[in-house]
Symmetry: C2
């Protein structure tokens, strides 16, 4: 693996884009001295920035896919957009990774269709790390609302590859998100998935419950994109609610205000714990390149972390590891690669 990864960065993505993205790129270059950037965006944005930064190559795009555009149509009509050009940069090996804080649907569609899936992968999936003493790789978080049981088996393999390379757990333990620990729990479809996992996922440790998401009991938790998306937003909503209530509690009396002052540093670290900026965004697994999709409401810190994480994943061989596990799995089950 090349130790000087090139990460393509969508300069136009995100609600507040450009300025924040450029700041994030500058910070990433400072943190990772081997990193190279392919900066994709309007001419007047990317050329002056590249002129000032040695390891940045500009790539001029001519349109922007907006957050509310229908993804499938947008990527067909806007071939000269920053997102579609990023997907082609991966395909043509001009970049090893791609970071965009633009439309999740458009990045997903463009990289799936134009960059292409890893051989044997039926459906890409979005993954996200949950914090804790034992960080959890959770997937799928929204790439697929409808699913077939065999898709979830592939998610288990891709999640295992992710936990090995990006998180550094040699032998990740896999759980299936369900409503109880017994094999007979959940919908008929989920029970079918359980059977496939038992037969095909080497390190499957049984069903996980919602309460296992922060309990240090699994390394990888697999679910369908609809449940995963709802779960992730529930976590965010619960955390936001509790932090707001905590803030109110801290302002409730003079005594409390004084206490809050003394606790400032400790509470800051708590707030940071569930801050998505820390990880830069979600990884799209299953396409031929490292793809990170940032939050729409991104920050310079999230952009920096996303780019640095992408470079790390390239160095650790995330795509190669997924490719290997999927090939092994398809060989052993006699599945025809498609």
């Amino acid at each position: 693996m090349d130790t000087n990864p090139v990460i393509a960065v969508d300069a136009m993505g995100g609600d507040n884009a450009v300025k924040l993205v450029l700041q994030g790129v500058a910070d990433a270059l400072q943190e990772d001295h081997e990193l190279r950037i392919l900066l994709i965006g309007n001419k007047e944005v990317v050329e002056p920035f590249a002129a000032k930064h040695q390891r940045v190559k500009p790539l001029v795009s001519h349109s922007v896919i907006e957050m509310d555009e229908a993804p499938a149509e947008a990527i067909r009509q806007k071939k000269d957009s920053s997102i579609v050009m990023g997907a082609y940069a991966l395909k043509n090996h001009e970049a090893d990774g791609f970071f965009s804080a633009g439309s999740t649907g458009a990045v997903l569609a463009a990289t799936t269709i134009y960059t292409g899936r890893i051989k044997g992968v039926k459906r890409p999936a979005i993954t996200f790390m949950l914090p804790g003493k034992r960080p959890i790789t959770m997937l799928d978080l929204g790439a697929n609302a409808d699913y077939k049981p065999e898709h979830l088996v592939q998610f288990a393999h891709m999640g295992t590859a992710f936990a090995r390379t990006v998180i550094g757990v040699e032998n990740p333990e896999v759980g299936l998100l369900n409503i109880g620990s017994e094999e007979t729990k959940g919908s008929m479809q989920l029970q079918e998935v359980y059977g496939l996992f038992k037969a095909q996922v080497k390190n499957f440790k049984g069903n996980a419950e919602g309460s296992d998401l922060f309990a240090n009991t699994f390394d990888v938790i697999v679910t369908d994109g609809q449940t995963g998306n709802i779960t992730l937003k529930t976590i965010e909503g619960t955390a936001k609610f509790l932090m707001t209530e905590l803030k109110d509690a801290l302002m409730a009396s003079t005594k409390a205000k004084l206490g809050a002052l003394l606790l400032k540093d400790s509470l800051y670290s708590l707030k940071d714990l569930l801050n998505a900026d820390k990880y830069g965004g979600g990884y799209l697994l299953g396409v031929k390149g490292v793809v990170i999709i940032g939050h729409g409401h991104t920050s310079a810190r999230a952009v920096k972390n996303g780019i640095v994480s992408a470079a790390k994943a390239v160095r650790e061989g995330l795509v190669e590891q997924i490719s290997e596990l999927i090939a092994q799995s398809n060989d052993s089950t006699g599945t025809i690669n498609s």
Copy 2:
């Protein structure tokens, strides 16, 4: 409606049962001076207690359904258990409500089969209140892992009845838990539900997301039992994780410890906010009686609150309101009552 409701209480339910349950019953009798209790359990438990408390009638049961027994079989084989006798007490109008902290599956099966469903109700559902300025009625939380779209329509009507009577919202706004606000979001099945809601649920306000669970945007949020169960446990897991991290943060330094001391009262109210004890448990909607299922790890406070809530729901006419809304809905859609 009789203003002196009789609540049947399962004295044998819960991991730590008997002592906690009896304490909870005594506290409930103190709080609600009109309340009457039908206390079901072993002779040596219920008779001495009834002898000491005026408004308590004992009902002797001869077996206990354990937490890990298969519900369908257990309720057939143990007709003299506290749970089955509670279900029959509702059926025979010896009680208006039933509180048990025993096996959720067994209470669900016993009341569905022996007490019976309200006319026209296809599937009972479990509901739970989420806290906040505008409390949310969320259902189903685990009664049904597989579902048909029309079941979710009935859950919307039952949730509306619950929010009206128990929470006191005259015109509850209903949301459908999904992965985005647009009509085209989610699985094919969920899109079908959306269409039915638009046609049949009067106060339907569109899709709700995980982040809406604490955002004061809806009064009732409907989902299938599998997603609901995972969501509820995710909320509990996230809250537990954050409270543990908060505790660690408060112990991190001498300065922080001093701050924590000043904040003790304020933080206690925060911790209490997501404490399930506050509500006593989940309501089972759709059967002919008010049924509350407590947490297995119950407390005297949860038992007390569960019993008092059940009495309130009886007085407010929860069952009659569900019956009315389901009948109206079945009339207007031409559904044959079954």
